[in-house]
Symmetry: D2
Subunit: 367 residues, 4 copies
């Protein structure tokens, strides 16, 4: 058990604060002999990197990752992979006043309640800066999953504005700074976020994830169900308040026959007529695409003043100037993808530990 680790066999431990000298992670359990260099990780970090548009924090961090262990002559050795990113743009300023006031909606108060001490510089450990290491670990997880598995995500709603799903185009996600799969919605969001920024506010968002090519059989009932582990992984991302798999909350309104994805055979393989299950039944992957969504609340560090209290016991109105994301949900897209990749890699290892044979085709199982 470790508070700052996740996964069991593909196990990631992260460390570091927003304004400390560096952040890092240790990826343990990675299979040996995988080709791995910084070039396999950096592109994913670049997608999450701050300062790339007016809708994310203006903090300038190259987020250049270094591999300090676990790789020899370009291949993983099976020993722990240590990844480090130096913090370069920690503005030195007086944080004494910040240290005394709790930002409403932020973890400030909670950390102090728990530990009786906190690092107030840029949010310390509770900063979303930590998520860079999740993205780095996710890049390694993608190598474990192999090229046959595709893990990707998109923003499907900002504030009250959802995309139009009929216009979904995965190619479009890479063309705009908002990870939006619907070109028609991009200007709507840009206008909305512009107004949000102007009035010193922030916006929430909903992210959708999909993994294709996932082998059936991943997930270990009862308490290591694939969807349970995925729910924890996504809920652990900063500012996330909700997670759903497949049809999610909508399933509550379905009838049994609407909800049950019908099965047919095509070339001896099971194919499904729909995917309300999100690719997971009984906590186990079925071979259908894994689909999940999660909601990110609006950034709590805003210019608009909100009633709060100080550590020394006074009431105060807190407005938070600084370089904050007006919509932290945007950069949550690569983070969510990374968490999904890590969960899948972990379950791939767990599955083959208990089930050494090839994943079963049910129509061919002899037993």
């Amino acid at each position: 058990m470790s508070h700052n680790s996740f996964g069991h066999l593909f196990r990631v431990t992260t460390w570091g604060e927003s304004h400390g000298p560096a952040i890092g992670c240790v990826v343990d359990g990675c299979p040996p002999r995988l080709a791995l260099s910084e070039a396999d990780i950096q592109p994913w970090l670049d997608r999450r990197r701050p300062g790339q548009s007016q809708f994310t924090t203006q903090r300038q961090e190259p987020d250049a990752v270094r591999i300090l262990s676990g790789v020899f002559e370009g291949r993983t050795t099976g020993t722990p992979i240590s990844l480090v990113i130096d913090n370069l743009d920690q503005r030195s300023r007086d944080y004494a006043s910040v240290a005394d006031r709790y930002r409403p909606g932020h973890a400030d108060l909670a950390y102090d309640l728990k530990y009786g001490i906190r690092d107030p510089r840029g949010g310390g450990r509770s900063s979303a800066r930590e998520t860079a290491m999740r993205v780095a670990a996710g890049a390694v997880a993608r190598l474990v999953l192999g090229p046959g598995v595709s893990v990707r995500g998109a923003l499907v709603q900002i504030g009250p504005h959802p995309i139009e799903r009929a216009r979904w185009d995965w190619e479009e996600v890479g063309r705009n700074a908002l990870f939006c799969p619907d070109a028609g919605t991009v200007p709507v969001w840009e206008a909305y976020l512009g107004a949000v920024r102007k009035r010193g506010s922030s916006a929430g968002a909903i992210i959708e994830l999909q993994a294709e090519g996932v082998a059936p059989g991943l997930g270990a009932p009862i308490y290591a169900k694939l969807d349970a582990d995925l729910a924890a992984a996504l809920m652990s991302i900063n500012a996330v308040k909700a997670v759903e798999i497949g049809a999610g909350f909508s399933a509550a309104e379905f009838s049994g026959e609407q909800n049950a994805d019908p099965m047919r055979l095509r070339d001896g393989e099971v194919v499904f007529g729909s995917n309300n299950a999100g690719g997971i039944l009984g906590g186990i992957s079925t071979g259908q695409p894994i689909t999940a969504r999660f909601a990110v609340k609006p950034t709590s560090s805003i210019l608009t003043p909100v009633q709060s209290v100080t550590r020394s016991g006074h009431e105060v109105d807190v407005a938070t100037p600084g370089r904050h994301d007006p919509c932290v949900g945007i950069r949550a897209v690569p983070v969510g993808e990374a968490m999904l990749a890590c969960v899948l890699a972990d379950h791939l290892l767990r599955h083959r530990a208990q089930n050494p044979g090839p994943t079963q085709n049910p129509s061919q199982t002899p037993c």
Copy 2:
């Protein structure tokens, strides 16, 4: 790591199949010297027990729990508590045909894909019967939390019919068989479920949980956040497809200032003007009530035929006769409560391991 265990310091391991001789669990890590007897557990099991209304399965199980270890002269000894419930009403019938057909929406196929074998009798391990042991463990967890903590739940939606929240009355929950907090909605649900049953279908539901009296400071960032562990615990319940904390998905539509719960001081204590956070900030409890909701899909075992395939590789239409809950969400209320209680008990132990002093009042912290 164990697939069939949850919690870390208050740790529960369950075993057993729907139609095996018994089901059981081992609760490890329970503090010593707590008064505990079967009478502390049985009432909670009775709330979940099948056969109590026409809207739950007609299987007759007294669900009488026995304590086989860990208690001496009415007090816990700190050693593992073994709890067992005998299965009495496993109807013996030919399950050969069932064994060959995969019920759409059910875990049948997934278990077979994973293990190449499954126990088809009543769903085997994937049956919701397993949740009885969660409720039993939850009863022990309540004792760990002590009388100052109240953990309760209610059904807030069945199919397309939500309750009217203005009429919420916790007392009402115990007065009807549907765990409904709104007396006015009970007849609506009864009529709806009656129709659902009559046409051989099933209905989904949404459950809301609340824990009051939870000390601030519980939850261990980054990867053992209270809400992340709670999300996993709830998502691990059979048929659950979505989980949200506090405002949940609604938070995506809030502005930053709407979402941030304002803080004031009352008698030196922090009080909040709202609870969009659901009592959890940065993964740590704040002292506000913990609130969560989860969605349960409609029962997949229904009389209405759905397209499916057989193990031997043929297409088939599957209708599932038997004694199934038309709305498995109803009995998920005590199960959800139990999972919340277990997560809180586990985090209480985890918190005091790292933080031996009393939980801090931030306005008094001297450090």
Copy 3:
């Protein structure tokens, strides 16, 4: 983390007290489709069963194991295997006086110091009766390892009397009640133990274990080394005070060239000229036989009075009448074997999770 569980992927959780209604264990993570019935477990339990000679406790327990879950039609399903043994011969007698006095050398005092309560009936949880469940789990572990792996043990010393290693005969171990591999030593031990019993004393012992046919590559450095896990597993057995692998303490006196087992090739396979390493280098199995030894202290429940104190704070001399093993080390042989088998099964699963390919032959590795 669970105090009463061991192993990670092949994971065993035990419960129960010496004089409670039953003892049991849950074996989680066992691969599916293995043939398993009570008949695969009972013979191993019979080897450990009390009352079989004058040198073990006279408590009469058939130790008949029942499988309550995890097996369907004679095959494991991949779900948790629940094993239970009823306690039949718990003599009802007044244990009030026992409850107040701490037996020197026994866990009585320590449990009370830790928990502030203990179950004094027959030692409660600290009784060696718990080891029956280790043997049961070990029987399942042997099936996971398969017929190619042989795990066996023998007693090599009782009190001051070691066997003569030149006369070692594995066949002899099954022919005498003392698990002695040296026929010539059996009468020596019988005479010695007879005298020990007569004067109300007890004797210690040393057990040697060997596993042949273990694949190379098992063990996960740095902190899950095969020998580290084995050391913990053996040290966790009641009354064990020392563990050594291969040459063990003797290695401290060797020179480097004496200690290093020389390697040659035979038919393309590496063969070793000696086995000081006990089959483990760097925490990883090499393919040589795994060898280990552990020391069991003399039973602390003896008729000879020893100075002690009472719970209520008085000095007292404690003599412990009852049905105790004069040499608890005898029955530790099957227990030690079981722990070795469980550790190997766990590491087999762990290894193949990270290393999906076949275990490497170093002279054929292409990478």
Copy 4:
């Protein structure tokens, strides 16, 4: 589960290779508000540092530790503590020949068998260089234990030469480069080691550890016994082949009455007449000093040629020139101390999680 982590609540994850750019560790679960700076760690590292006498490797490493996270203004924050040491003296030389030959007694072969790849530079991950991070973590563990707990160790045997225990003087340990508590033995060992070095050989050793001031009640039966966890922690140190607690193997020769440490009362506290138990009964600390010993085999990297094989499948004689410790057991003293400190810190946290009250005095327990 992580292969490269140990401890559960006080949890240490190490990473890094002998000749990579750096080695490091993450210490998670450390209580907040402890005063901690590099100056608290460096002195312990200096005791283990290479190049301090002719009897340890001549590699020159300042082993200067840096704290990269988890500390704010000189106090721990409860978040993960990242510690890093740069590798400075990695001699660049051709290791191609080394990479092809397996040093007998070394982990070379085993790593290759397991992973099909290894980092041959200085032993890579299997190098004893990793133990520097154990010492660093141990320094933090000492702060968790507090000043009332003293953890120390000494070398008690090198090759065939044990110390004379009657001359034991803890002060002497710090006065010589061999951690010898017996001034009279120092010249004996120096002469012996000088001869060993001269003939290109190496020597084994035995280390003894002691922890005083440990609260009673630490250790969690059955499978997290204090001695079981200690056995694993010590056996995980490079080159260790044996571990014993208290009387250890000697206990096998004792009679029951010799072995059982008699108890008397002094000022209401339990005092023991001897300490064969090594301060641990039933896996739980009793308040007596914890004592343990472990054996370190002679360094396998020696100049004397030993028969071996190559990766490409040829027989060869291997002599290992280089800067190796002729007796790796010497520097194992601070490493063993660190492991003991870490195990105790972990169990202190585990104990108070389950047992929130003060550790019990048995003669005052009211329950």
